[in-house]
Amino acid sequence: MPDLITHTAIARLLAGPFEFRNRSPHLPPLRIFLYIGVMLPDLMSRPWYILSPSVHDWVVAFHTPFGMLTACAFAALFFERSLRAGIFGRLFLGTVLHFAVDCLQKQVTGNNYWLFPFSWRNFGIGLFWAGDAIPFVPVWIALVLLMEVILRVRRVKQFKRAHRTEDESVEDGAEDGAEDGAEGSGRCRD
């Protein structure tokens, strides 16, 4: 598996452009579930066997799409009912992105059992070794920061433009109201 910065940065760079049309100055809190999902397969398997290597075989199921589908549904049930579907969808989409990136790396032994528990077939394209991605971590961070700045500037501009339009329409409404009032009073005078 590549490191979690690479995984998260790729997900952020793919998801970021979808926020270009977001008109709110605040970001929807549910978006973090995509990034939790991207990390979930590794967080549910790697730390446990690094700490205790004998549990390796017990956690292999958590680094598979079917295991993650179940785990995402389980996790989503710990949220308010109105949020569950959105959280489940984002978590699982994140895990799919994780497996897609994992399959690009070379392996000595298996790591991508996409058909588990129905088959132990290992999928992989084998383009790079996990360690090869480490020197690119600063590049990923720089790209994500650049995108965040662009998104932030764009959001603030959109927010200001929306407020300006709102203020102008309120002012126009007030002027119209004043004119109407004057006409009305004139009529009264008549």
Partner: protein
């Protein structure tokens, strides 16, 4: 949001069901995997003679000799692996597939130094911490309902 009595029963049932599925998947992975571990072979060396071992406990390269290297594992005694030692670095983690011999030694089939694995583990700690911070900034646990809800003050 107020939940109906049906939904109140459904949630614990789903949690139980999904929890059970997760346990069964974990058990299936533990007992029906196709690979052979070094620990299995040490438990029954005669049965594993000539078989390819794919699972080791956090394997690292120890002393490098002209005809192979010493394999260090967490909780296991060092073992000699006959291998081509070009490119190997003592102290590094290693990806290994090796043929087991009943004497307890191994002959490497595939050896790949897992370079920068320590750096990989170190940088991998950063995103979970960041996301955990963002999570608790936006969500709060309701102990009464045993569920997270969005913070209204976020």
């Amino acid at each position: 949001m107020k939940s109906s009595p049906g939904a109140a029963v459904l949630r614990p049932c789903l949690l139980l069901l999904l929890g059970l599925v997760l346990i069964l998947l974990a058990a299936y992975g533990a007992f029906h995997h196709p690979w052979i571990s070094y620990a299995d072979c040490i438990a029954d060396p005669a049965a594993c003679d000539g078989l390819v071992v794919e699972e080791f406990h956090e394997p690292r390269i120890g002393e490098i000799r002209p005809d192979g290297f010493e394999l260090l594992q967490r909780g296991e005694a060092p073992v000699f692996v006959a291998a081509d030692t070009s490119g190997l670095v003592s102290g590094e983690f290693v990806g290994l597939k090796a043929v087991f011999h009943r004497e307890g030694t191994l002959t490497a089939k595939v050896v790949k130094v897992a370079s920068r694995r320590r750096e990989k583990m170190a940088v991998s700690l950063i995103p979970p911490v960041l996301v955990l911070f963002l999570f608790f900034r936006n969500f709060r646990f309701n102990a009464k309902r045993l569920e997270f809800g969005m913070r209204t003050d976020a």
